[in-house]
């Protein structure tokens, strides 16, 4: 299990719970900070003392008070720590459930796990800590997993539009591939184009190519 963990959380009731989970997991050194700036200082000091933290658990939003701070949110704290200790494991424990924001945390800040605060959050957090320790990637608390893998919102790209247009003009797969090659559009292999057409059929809930084109026409995409 982790040896040294830093908890950045401004609400003490929550931090108590977090610390309790860590204690249950028998983490020997647990540090708790209420301000992001303080967290960064702790990380820096630990590095200087050659006793770096293994894991950081942080909230995203911190209430501002009389203290003047440089780092206002968990995002900023993670960004700052990434500069001094990029390899530290990071778990975000927050109320935020917007999928795009969470995706950004994973993709841009390289967090290891995201746990939403909720009714089952202690269990979820415990699981997340354990999974993180096992070096699993992109761990999400169970109530969020649907959102993360959500395909309900489908972004149609100009590539898809081009395929649809060519199909509506009566092109067969090979002709489309040739056309794409001429126009230097990639991917232009027949198999990848076919795969894409199949995907589009799923997106558009079309039974066949003709149906697909009809829908695309109705929607004014071609």
């Amino acid at each position: 299990m982790f040896k040294k963990v830093l908890v950045a959380e401004d609400l003490d009731s929550i931090s108590i719970a977090v610390v309790q989970v860590l204690e249950e997991l028998q983490v020997p050194v647990i540090h708790h900070v209420k301000y992001c700036d303080e967290g960064l200082l702790k990380v820096k000091k630990a590095l200087a003392d050659n006793e770096p933290y293994d894991l950081m658990i942080t909230d995203l939003s911190f209430k501002s008070d009389h203290r003047k701070v440089d780092l206002h949110s968990g995002d900023e704290l993670i960004g700052a720590i990434n500069k001094v200790q990029p390899k530290i494991k990071k778990i975000v424990f927050s109320i935020e459930d917007k999928s795009y924001r969470i995706k950004t945390l994973f993709n841009e800040l390289g967090i290891n796990a995201y746990v939403t605060k909720g009714r089952n959050s202690i269990v979820e957090l415990r699981n997340a800590i354990e999974s993180t320790f096992k070096n699993e990637e992109k761990i999400l608390s169970s109530d969020l997993s649907f959102n993360f893998n959500d395909k309900a919102l489908i972004e149609i790209e100009s590539y898809d539009i081009s395929i649809l247009k060519l199909l509506s003009q009566g092109y067969i797969l090979e002709s489309i591939s040739k056309e794409f090659k001429d126009l230097a559009i990639t991917p232009n292999g027949t198999s990848s184009i076919e795969k894409r057409i199949n995907k589009l059929k799923i997106y558009f809930k079309a039974n066949n190519n003709v149906h697909l084109i009809a829908i695309a026409k109705d929607f004014g995409l071609v």
Partner: protein
């Protein structure tokens, strides 16, 4: 020849009075209060000219004083100049002008404690009327002067004047009484011995005595001769060259009928003495007496002389008058120049006044516009606040409706569950907690929908997030071209509007139709952004009407960013709403 002798006397009286008047004026009037140095200086010079009978030079100075002096501040000098002018006009025989001058003095008289100016005023007025044959008016003014509290010599002089008026009215008896009184009481305290110091007094006495003689003569009183001889004696003793001819003329007249030879002798003497001092009146009388008392060649000679003399006198008088007119004319030019200057000054002042008015008007205009602007600001602020309040109110209504619509069922279920089930049971408790959690998360998502929208670089993500909330296993939402243009270049208000409009459309569509596929296309068309929503829901014609009603709020929002909302009712198998707004 009563008249001629009368006129002679009057003229001599006049000159004597003029002499005395100028003596009076010797004491400068400006000693009282005079703040204007120039007026004071001019008065000194003017009075000195006047005293030396130099009326030609005194005249323009007095005119100048009147023009310069402030009638209130320099009242003494102002009145003094007016009286001076009145006298000058009078001496020139211009009684109308003289009266015109003296009338201007009248309003000032009440300001003088001393009666000197009043006395002069009434005296000049009286004399003007006397000379214009308005004898009653003359008497009126003389009496006014007489009733003033003045020095006694002035009273005697006025009495003398009244006597002369009576003589002219041929009231010789009354006149004689006056002259008797004047020559007796008037000089009771006077030293009538021949002395240089009181020579003037003596001369005046002679004139008045002579007048008494004239009265006696006309009343056929034999005392006349005694008086004439007494006067002649005094004059001879005093070597009074100026007036001796008058005595000779009087004696000549006295003897004209009884002793023509003696009359001719006196007339010759009188003519001779009058010629010495060029006393034209006496010369005239003496010549006329000579013409009456002589015969033959002498008669012819004196008659010719008389005619020639009268002509020359007329010419001289005319010349004198003309010269005076010249001065008056020159002064008139000066005056005109002054008036011109004054007009310029007035024009200048008028211009200043106009400018003042103009700036005053501009101040008024400025303050009015300022007030208008203030009012406008106040009005707009109030209106803006009201609109804001209205918007907040509408929004609150909308949210509460949404809460009602979405949570009514859940809350009702949770309540009945809690009432009917035993919550001690762990399973029930868990289920109840789940229900509460659902209510909480729904409430939270409603809250989030209405919370502030991020308009920074995460806007597109925020938008996708919002749209994706409406997607489900049943409904596929396709998004096309959301990233085909840069959102950072679009204004904050527009971004918020797009967000809210799409949210509202999706909200309405979710409740209105059963679409399985929806597509949102974002397109940049030259300077516009076009956003089009299409779905494959069952098309109901009333749907548009309902939607149009529901989307009233949306339409207003779009209008605020100068955009347009468009329902495509022509499409056959799909439902289309699009909106467009300028970049």
């Amino acid at each position: 020849m009563k008249i001629t002798s009368l006129v002679k006397t009057l003229i001599s009286t006049f000159f004597l009075l003029a002499l005395l008047t100028s003596c009076e004026k010797d004491k400068p009037a400006f000693v009282k209060t005079d703040n204007t140095a120039e007026v004071k200086r001019l008065t000194t010079i003017g009075d000195s000219y006047f005293d030396n009978f130099d009326y030609k030079n005194a005249y323009p100075l007095y005119k100048k004083i009147i023009a310069l002096a402030d009638p209130v501040k320099d009242r003494v000098d102002y009145v003094d100049a007016l009286i001076g002018l009145a006298l000058i006009y009078q001496y020139q025989g211009d009684y109308i002008q003289s009266e015109e001058m003296i009338v201007q003095v009248l309003p000032h008289l009440k300001y003088f404690k001393k009666t000197r100016f009043a006395w002069y005023t009434y005296y000049i007025q009286g004399y003007n009327y006397f000379k214009t044959d308005n004898l009653e008016r003359a008497l009126f003014y003389y009496r006014k002067a007489l009733h003033l509290k003045t020095k006694s010599f002035r009273k005697w002089r006025i009495l003398n004047c009244i006597g002369i008026v009576y003589m002219k009215q041929e009231k010789y008896k009354a006149a004689a009484v006056i002259f008797e009184k004047v020559t007796r009481d008037g000089y009771a305290s006077r030293d009538l011995t021949l002395d240089i110091a009181n020579r003037n007094v003596l001369m005046t006495y002679c004139v008045e005595l002579n007048n008494l003689g004239l009265c006696y003569y006309n009343l056929k009183n034999s005392k006349a001769l005694d008086i004439y001889e007494k006067v002649l004696k005094i004059r001879l003793a005093a070597k009074d060259k100026e007036n001796i001819s008058t005595s000779y003329a009087a004696l000549s007249e006295y003897y004209l009928k009884s002793n023509p030879q003696l009359a001719a002798k006196y007339a010759k003497l009188g003519y001779q003495k009058a010629s010495e001092v060029n006393f034209f009146a006496d010369k005239k009388y003496c010549l006329s007496f000579l013409a009456q008392s002589t015969t033959g060649n002498e008669l012819k000679k004196y008659t010719t002389m008389y005619i020639t003399f009268i002509d020359s006198v007329n010419t001289a008088q005319l010349k004198q008058k003309n010269e005076f007119s010249d001065i008056k004319y020159n002064f008139k030019i000066d005056k005109e120049e002054n008036i011109e200057l004054k007009t310029e000054k007035a024009e200048h002042e008028l211009e200043i006044e106009r400018q003042k008015n103009r700036s005053f008007i501009s101040y008024i205009v400025l303050s009015i516009s300022f007030c208008a602007v203030l009012f406008l600001i106040f009005y707009m602020t109030k209106k803006g606040r009201k609109e804001k309040n209205d918007a907040v109110f509408k929004n609150e209504i909308r949210i509460s409706n949404k809460l009602h619509n979405e949570l009514e069922k859940e809350i009702h279920e949770a309540l009945s569950f809690a009432e009917n089930k035993n919550l001690e049971n762990t399973e029930n408790k868990e289920q109840f907690l789940n229900q509460l959690n659902l209510i909480y998360s729904k409430t939270r998502s409603i809250s989030r929908e209405n919370s502030a929208i991020l308009t920074d670089e995460h806007y597109a993500d925020e938008l996708k997030e919002m749209i994706s909330k409406y997607a489900s296993g049943n409904l596929n939402i396709l998004v096309n071209g959301l990233n085909s243009f840069s959102w950072t270049k679009i204004g904050r208000v527009k971004k918020i509007t797009v967000f809210r409009v799409l949210q509202e459309i999706l909200d309405q569509m979710e409740t209105l139709n059963n679409a399985s596929l929806a597509n949102i296309t974002f397109k940049k068309e030259e300077k516009n952004i076009l956003i089009m929503y299409v779905d494959n829901g069952t098309k109901i014609s009333s749907q548009y009407t309902i939607l149009q009603k529901r989307l009233q709020n949306v339409e207003n929002r779009i209008k605020t960013i100068k955009g347009t909302l468009n329902f495509d009712e022509q499409s056959e198998n799909s439902f289309k709403v699009s909106f467009k707004f300028p970049l």
